[in-house]
Symmetry: C2
Subunit: 487 residues, 2 copies
């Protein structure tokens, strides 16, 4: 199924999104790309699957992500049956600076690891996109078009006068499968969007890009040199040099410092709008940028009143309303044009026409230091997952699921003792060198400072309730002495 | 502070309310009267306190309640420092039949235990009422007025053209402190309510009643004999006879069966509207029937947009909205005229003008057999309380709080083992006759079938996490062999 290309292919997945627009489903440590609400796989795993359809098993996968998220993201991928065992190159951004610095860094890394002619497919990790033949055809055409050094964008045929997307205007002189781009236009008003729709050579900007590593870097350099608003992005004149320095040595302190002080800049603004070598591959596959919680509505048909109830909910007499629950009971009564999104530890209720403003809530919560913006109650691990059931002064209770054949790291804690009660399956427990087998209904005790490890040698799921008691219960009170996942 | 009366005084607290209008705060097993949302005491305990101010320590307290609620209610009262040690007579209704059968039963019991001249103060358990001197003066006047055999109601001076209450029209011929009642009127429309407000001799019907036991029974009998709608309430001709039989012998099977088949009938309809001996004591104390979740708004001033955030909530740009949370994080954004009421296990979001229709949600949930209509996550016990943290197939996790000096019953389970991990305080644990002391961070194990008891001999709170594992985890798998609270 993979495209047959003379050039080597590198998928660059941008996974640095903070996910504030999808709160409370998304959190800093579980952004949109890690959510499984749109299917059995997360958006990130779906993006990896789609990338593989184009680059094949010969291609290389790079994920660009920030230091603060890389551990969770790594655990997330390790917990996936297939992607947990495929080599992925993690490119750590020293800071989140939008797509231009991120792509510059990735292109520099690909140039060092391969060559300037290596072709990059830059894919967002948090969009919903159709896969299969239309997808592969489109991306294969983009790869072909990129071989002359062009920056190749992917444009969706508009199906409605959408005001939430940027548009790409294609040249009408060209009959190519990848015509040249006349210009990029910001989110238009409804009237302008309707005009674009009628004219036929305007496309929704999907945010995907295909280009050779060297072309990305040289077009960025050229654009930055001739930047029409030199003041605003003055610091970004060093962007490519800095990216190249970091690609050579990710620990280069001076380069890290420069990167941290770059202006936040999207690649569209930094290069595409200024470059003369941009093309667009028009396509018609299904695509959504999952731009707000309203994207959840695509999951289910509405009832006659325009209302959707998803999860454990009940509605009486609401109109054009979304009642979305992750597990708790949510009842809606007589609402109009409202969205309710419920998670284990936080609930959002918003007017539908304010769905784009959820970040105002997140901003306010961050000002208050609310933990509900940082973590979700469940965290995936390479060996399974844990869910926080309750947390109080001096104790916390978690449910731990260990996959068949999996094993936690050999570890110890300085500030807490742990009680493990087996609910389902059979646990192998090592405590200070001694091995026990623990059956359902039985428990074991891990004193403060004891070296311990929990394993599931069986072929069914192991479920354990963990009660931890101590004066400090943070995730960082863990000393790993051995880990089969090399964390 | 108690009223000095020649007659003996009996407070009859009607506590059979099902609390559907206050869901999700109220549940079948934790109805409105048991909630502590309006202050440190529940509405029921507040009603007991107010009753005592009138009847004094010589008076007797009766609580009318159904079989299905009496255990929870008893535990609730036993857990109160003062009322846990005051003798209360529980009158069990064989079925919930509204106030007429309940009051007939209570009057019959008082007549048997005391005399037909004994005076009853019938008080709802789920209203908010001012206490102190105005309250005592009003009720003392009502007691005096009842000594000629009258049925004495309590009417509130209306302060607004309220359409949610019934009204009592007082005679304008009388200059008595307790004028005769001309008629009762159902909830009026706004225009009519405004007229009542202007005329000055209309009062809100508080639902309280003061009358001698014999007068209640004889007026009920008289009214039922001459009942104008004999068909509708035909069965209720036996109401008084049945009540008297049950008062003599609460186990009388024939009487229980007759009671169960009575029509549901409020005392207003069954007697007051038909009796010629009804008076009203007008008063002006603060009162609310806590008729819907909107009563929560009385707890806090609104902001400039008319919005209130109570509990762990955050709001951005909502108008005339109530954001009420019992502990979880609730965020509201851009709402108008909306109420959000959040509890540990269920959330309600409703248009404000539908607050009266919450029972529609409860009806639907009951059809589905949803447990969230039956129990709340926390249950008071004479020894403290427990809170359900999580429940899954084959296990559940509770947090248990044991008051200083308190002790759970000596008990055993046939279907589950229990692990107790001490979080705070010191536990005394008895297992099959052996005594252990368990300190914070330590645990103990109770095998299936073992006789066990948990006690707190210390002088600080004991907090324990209980993990129960077994094939059946219902509250009825408990065999009590000894209980210091005689349950």
């Amino acid at each position: 199924m993979a495209a047959q290309q003379a050039t080597s292919l590198h998928a660059v997945i941008l996974a640095g999104g903070s996910g504030t627009r999808f709160w409370p489903l998304s959190r800093e440590q579980a952004p949109k790309q890690m959510l499984k609400v749109f299917g059995p796989d997360s958006l990130l795993i779906s993006a990896l699957n789609r990338a593989e359809e184009v680059i094949g098993s010969e291609g290389k996968v790079h994920i660009v992500v920030g230091e603060s998220l890389v551990d969770e993201l790594h655990n997330h991928i390790l917990s996936h049956q297939k992607w947990g065992s495929i080599p992925i190159n993690y490119i750590i951004e020293p800071a989140a600076k939008n797509t231009a610095p991120a792509l510059a860094l990735a292109a520099a890394v690909v140039e060092v690891q391969d060559s300037p002619q290596a072709t990059i497919l830059m894919l967002p990790s948090d969009h919903l996109t159709e896969n299969g033949s239309r997808w592969v055809e489109t991306m294969t055409a983009a790869v072909e078009a990129a071989q002359d050094g062009s920056l190749v964008t992917v444009g969706l045929h508009p199906t409605a006068p959408e005001t939430g997307f940027g548009y790409i205007q294609a040249s009408i002189q060209s009959s190519s499968a990848a015509p040249e781009v006349e210009r990029f236009v910001e989110k238009p008003n409804r009237e302008t969007a309707a005009k674009y729709l009628a004219e036929g050579n305007y496309y929704w900007n999907s945010g995907m890009l295909v280009a050779q590593a060297g072309a990305i870097l040289s077009e960025l350099e050229l654009a930055q040199r001739n930047h029409p608003y030199a003041d605003a992005a003055a610091g970004n004149k060093d962007m490519v040099v800095t990216a190249k320095a970091l690609a050579q040595n990710p620990a280069d302190k001076s380069a890290i410092d420069t990167f941290i002080h770059l202006a936040k800049e999207p690649f569209d603004k930094a290069a595409l709008e200024l470059s003369a070598r941009v093309r667009v591959v028009p396509t018609a596959f299904d695509w959504s940028d999952v731009g707000s919680l309203l994207a959840l509505e695509a999951l289910q048909e509405a009832n006659e009143q325009g209302t959707r109830v998803m999860g454990q909910g009940v509605d009486v007499d609401s109109i054009n309303t979304l009642n979305y629950s992750s597990g708790r009971l949510v009842a809606t009564l007589g609402l109009t044009d409202t969205i309710v999104v419920d998670t284990e530890d936080a609930t959002l209720v918003a007017a539908k026409d304010r769905a784009q403003d959820v970040r105002l809530i997140v901003d306010e919560l961050q000002r208050r230091g609310a933990p509900e913006t940082k973590h979700s109650q469940t965290s995936l691990r390479p060996w399974g997952s844990w869910t926080m059931l309750t947390r109080g002064i001096g104790y916390q209770v978690k449910e731990i699921e260990v996959l068949p054949g999996a094993s936690l790291s050999l570890q110890r804690h300085q500030h807490r003792s742990e009680h493990w009660i087996v609910i389902e399956g059979t646990a192998q427990v090592e405590v200070d060198g001694r091995l026990h087998t623990v059956f359902p209904g039985q428990s074991t005790f891990i004193p403060v400072g004891a070296l311990h490890r929990l394993s599931n040698d069986g072929d069914t799921l192991l479920r354990v309730t963990e009660v931890a008691v101590g004066d400090y219960l943070g995730e960082d009170d863990i000393e790993r002495l051995d880990d089969k996942y090399d964390r």
